[in-house]
Symmetry: C2
Subunit: 251 residues, 2 copies
């Protein structure tokens, strides 16, 4: 259970520490063996599920607060974290019944909050999920099995997935998700998992090579019965540049 004193202090004095009216929610996608998962928290009081999130300290940049939340929940840092949308409907968090018995009328926490969404994509076997102080559980859930979440959090997950998929046209993906050296079918499988659909092998190869972020190695993958496929790795410098500037693969 949450200590009464701890919660009261948060509800009554949170506005001394945090910005008012703005929160952060993180959609942390986990990729592992061809399955896409999302990291969820279960509240101690009420048992409802929600996204990892939090508030922005008064002297902290909004981006830094998202980095802090990601690190607190996963133990990871230096992860590519992408801001994707501000959710600003006035009714989005009207029903603050998670802690309704605790929530003092006039509390800082009871005001309307807009929330800024960030998504990240991580290799989920590298993560040790850790609940926050309001939660009893922090757990990976398959993207197709996400339960009903609080407020508009289901819509936030949906929008994050849409943004992640759109981003495949604009930014590279795969670093930290695949082994250092990988084959073209392994990379294609990652894209297919994110997009949740099969891709044409030739078109995929052509598009990926056009991004100019891959280096083909002289060695080939060994062990298969058929002709061994080439191994590739990311050209880290070109990859980083593409993350910053976009792939410019369009017009």
């Amino acid at each position: 259970m949450i200590g009464d004193k701890e919660l009261d202090d948060f509800l009554l004095n949170g506005d001394q520490v945090y910005m008012q009216g703005l929160s952060v929610d993180c959609v942390i996608f986990g990729f592992h063996e061809h399955v896409l998962n999302v990291l969820l928290l279960k509240w101690k009081t009420g048992g409802q599920w929600c996204l990892p999130g939090g508030f922005i300290k008064k002297e902290e940049s909004v981006d830094d607060s998202a980095i802090r939340i990601l690190k607190d929940r996963t133990g990871l840092d230096h992860i590519f974290l992408q801001q994707f949308h501000l959710f600003g409907e006035p009714s989005r968090d009207k029903n603050k019944d998670l802690i309704k018995n605790k929530s003092k009328k006039g509390s800082w926490f009871n005001q309307r909050f807009a929330t800024i969404g960030y998504y990240a994509l991580v290799e989920f076997s590298k993560v040790t999920p850790k609940p926050d102080w309001l939660s009893e559980e922090c757990r990976w859930t398959e993207i197709h099995r996400v339960p009903k979440l609080i407020y508009d959090h289901n819509a936030i997950v949906k929008k994050a997935l849409y943004a992640l998929r759109l981003s495949l046209n604009d930014y590279p993906v795969g670093y930290n998700l695949l082994a250092e050296k990988f084959t073209m079918p392994e990379l294609q499988s990652l894209y297919e998992t994110i997009l949740d659909k099969p891709l044409d092998r030739r078109n995929f190869q052509k598009k990926i090579l056009n991004m100019n972020i891959l280096e083909r190695l002289k060695e080939r993958k060994t062990g298969g019965a058929h002709k061994a496929p080439y191994l590739y790795r990311f050209d880290k410098k070109k990859y980083e540049t593409a993350l910053k500037q976009g792939l410019k693969s369009g017009f």
Copy 2:
């Protein structure tokens, strides 16, 4: 000049009307005869330039506040307005010297604000720019001639332009900017203006036709000395669908 009473009321009682800590800024791009412009305001006090912006009413969605601001400054509605980034550095608006002699210590206005950026693209000859109550002027400025703006507004313009250019891969553009019937070179010229670079004619035509939003008409443009080019128009239904769902032209 701004009336002292009006300004005092805004500075002292704004938090009765508006959300705290969050503002909206609009980068309104104007397209006209192959030139891209951006709409700027000049403050009465101090004479500095800034983007059209404002605050979010307590019962208003954030998107609706951007629509209201766009309408107030341009007279236009039903314009495609795209949220593109939240600017959340703690120091971004530290220097609130625009109204420094007026700005009471402890005023609502003096707290830190994060701002959510929206961009729109309009046909600028259709717009009647209108200053807000804090400004003496509202004016189109060529994108290459934007002066030093307040706070981080120059960075906001830069990011909006980047977002607009990236969006060309994901969303259609052109409706309301071109005549109802147009030629392929006219459409290409719009893209070239936004991207500020020449495009290959064949590649452009191929990409645009792949978007599946154009209808080629039987009539051709008349009047030229050479072979008359085909006329096109947008298939409004397909165009609207693509605006909502994205072009899916990528993977």
